[in-house]
């Protein structure tokens, strides 16, 4: 299933946040969205997943979600959004219960996604017992459980320290290599974007417009940390963003 963002604009009251966004999210690709803070990239993600209604334009699904898909557009949040009163198992079972998966049928799915995210030993743990990286793994497992057509990741690694971030990036790449998935990945971290993105969408500062779309052809599995081609890309992205970030930083919040 592809997603098409069709001349999308959004404003909060009088303030425009996004202007005329056109974007094609192809099946099997990771599309990274970067931009200075406050450029509306998280808003864009909420609009894509139907958590907010756009002021103008629309988001279209092309084709049908794959078989067995319980929740076509599934988020992974920056703050993990785990229920503190449910165990790891309970947090995943939460999103299955409403689809009629209980007991043994739910356990089969839960065991599978926990194995894929290396969490099998933590089934009975409560979120407060887990580190940030583990919490985000649980959130990824929860998202995998509903077999989404498109993952919508809202700065999923931004709340983690840099070592954990590296580990989780490797995990995401591993998951993608084993079974390709489609994702929109919002981040402000250029390194994450060049490591994970097939396509990188650079937004301008508020109101967010698409400044450039950068394609990265190096296959995900062969991207090394020191790769000079990737470093060039990252430098190019930084050149694009530098002025915008500087200007965005000097803006008054309520201006």
């Amino acid at each position: 299933m592809d997603l098409k963002v069709d001349s999308l604009s959004h404003r909060y009251g009088e303030m425009p946040v996004l202007e005329d966004i056109d974007l094609h999210i192809e099946s099997g690709q990771i599309v990274c969205v970067i931009g200075p803070s406050g450029c509306g990239k998280s808003t864009l993600l909420r609009l894509i997943g139907g958590l907010e209604r756009p002021t103008a334009g629309r988001v279209l699904q092309l084709g049908d979600p794959p078989d067995g898909c319980l929740n076509p557009l599934t988020y992974i949040f920056q703050d993990f959004a785990l229920l503190p009163w449910r165990t790891v198992r309970g947090n995943i079972s939460l999103v299955l219960e409403d689809h009629g998966f209980r007991g043994r049928r739910a356990d089969a799915i839960i065991d599978d996604v926990l194995a894929r995210t290396k969490l099998s030993d933590f089934k009975a743990a409560y979120p407060r017992q887990l580190s940030g990286g583990m919490k985000q793994r649980v959130a990824i497992a929860r998202a995998l459980a509903v077999k989404p057509a498109v993952f919508l990741m809202d700065e999923p690694l931004s709340a983690l320290d840099s070592q954990t971030r590296e580990l989780l990036m490797d995990d995401l790449i591993g998951l993608w290599l084993r079974e390709t998935f489609t994702a929109v990945y919002v981040t402000h971290n250029l390194n994450e974007a060049v490591r994970l993105g097939h396509k990188i969408v650079v937004l301008s500062r508020r109101p967010g417009r698409i400044r450039e779309i950068v394609d990265i052809d190096t296959p995900l599995g062969t991207r090394e940390i020191g790769d000079p081609a990737l470093r060039d890309r990252q430098q190019h992205l930084w050149n694009l963003m530098r002025e915008e970030a500087l200007a965005a930083d000097r803006e008054l919040a309520d201006a």
Partner: protein
């Protein structure tokens, strides 16, 4: 403990630092950085409460025996205990307890149930909020005891008016703590539920209710105390049995030993309720600790 650990190094520092001479420019005095952290972390010390309780009772008894506290002002704890033993022996204690506990439980249960329901309605529906919040604010501060005559006119002199006072009195604090709790549920968790396509009922039952539970339970602590206060007040007006009636009769006869015994029973009521809610909190909120 933190005090000694803070002062100990300070005492030795003067002699120590110059003799052992770690690297640094010669002639300069080396001092350890003083400890400034610690504190602000209450610990559980179980025995202190019991010790204080016992000491007060012992001093009181001693004061009565030596005549420092006159019999007229306050009876000795031992006398109150004798009065209590009489009450047990006559079998009246159970009738008083039965009357009081049934009023308390029925009034508190339905007051809390209605309060939680209305609190959820306020938390979830803008219309209910717009209507009920000012209404609650207007009625909550009225002393419910002042309304007891009205309740007697409406519901009769029997059990109903007493239960109604307790129900009414516990309803309002429960409403306020419940909708406060619902308001404080992390919105990002609700968005998460929506983003996974959870049904509205599932979001309320599995996300909002557990999220609001800490506030609801602490509201119950308050409403339970209010319920006990109102119980006694209601029983003081026209009740044959009940701890409040017993205290009232004792007061009318100036039987201060019975009065103290009755008041002690009420205090045990409060302790028991608080202990029960503590247990409920530890069980229902075990994910927090």
């Amino acid at each position: 403990m933190p005090d000694t650990s803070a002062t100990q190094p300070e005492e030795t520092s003067g002699a120590d630092s110059r003799t052992s001479n770690p690297p640094g420019p010669p002639g300069e005095v080396l001092r350890p950085v003083p400890f400034r952290g610690g504190g602000f972390a209450p610990r559980r010390i179980g025995v202190v409460g019991w010790i204080l309780f016992t000491v007060i009772l012992l001093l009181w008894e001693l004061g009565s025996r030596t005549g420092v506290i006159s019999q007229l002002t306050l009876p000795a704890p031992s006398e109150a205990l004798t009065a209590f033993a009489d009450l047990v022996r006559s079998g009246l204690l159970w009738r008083h307890l039965e009357a009081s506990l049934s009023r308390l439980l029925v009034g508190w249960f339905f007051g809390a149930l209605l309060g939680i329901t209305v609190g959820f309605a306020i938390g979830l529906f803008s219309l209910a909020r717009a209507g009920m919040v000012p209404l609650v604010a207007a009625i909550f501060p009225i002393p419910k005891i002042a309304l007891l005559p009205l309740f007697i006119v409406w519901f009769g002199i029997g059990e109903e008016s007493k239960v109604a006072v307790i129900l009414f009195g516990t309803f309002f604090p429960t409403v306020i703590s419940t909708y406060g709790g619902v308001d404080n549920v992390d919105r990002s968790l609700i968005r998460m539920g929506q983003s996974f396509g959870l049904r509205r009922f599932s979001i309320i039952w599995k996300i909002i209710l557990p999220g609001a539970l800490p506030a609801i339970l602490s509201g119950m602590r308050i409403s339970a105390s209010i319920a006990i206060i109102l119980l006694v007040a209601a029983e003081m007006i026209g009740a044959e049995f009940g701890i409040g009636a017993y205290v009232m009769q004792a007061g009318n006869l100036m039987a201060t030993d019975q009065l103290v015994a009755g008041v002690a029973v009420l205090s045990v009521f409060g302790l028991t309720v608080s202990w029960l809610i503590g247990r409920a909190e530890r069980y229902l909120l075990r994910w927090r600790s």
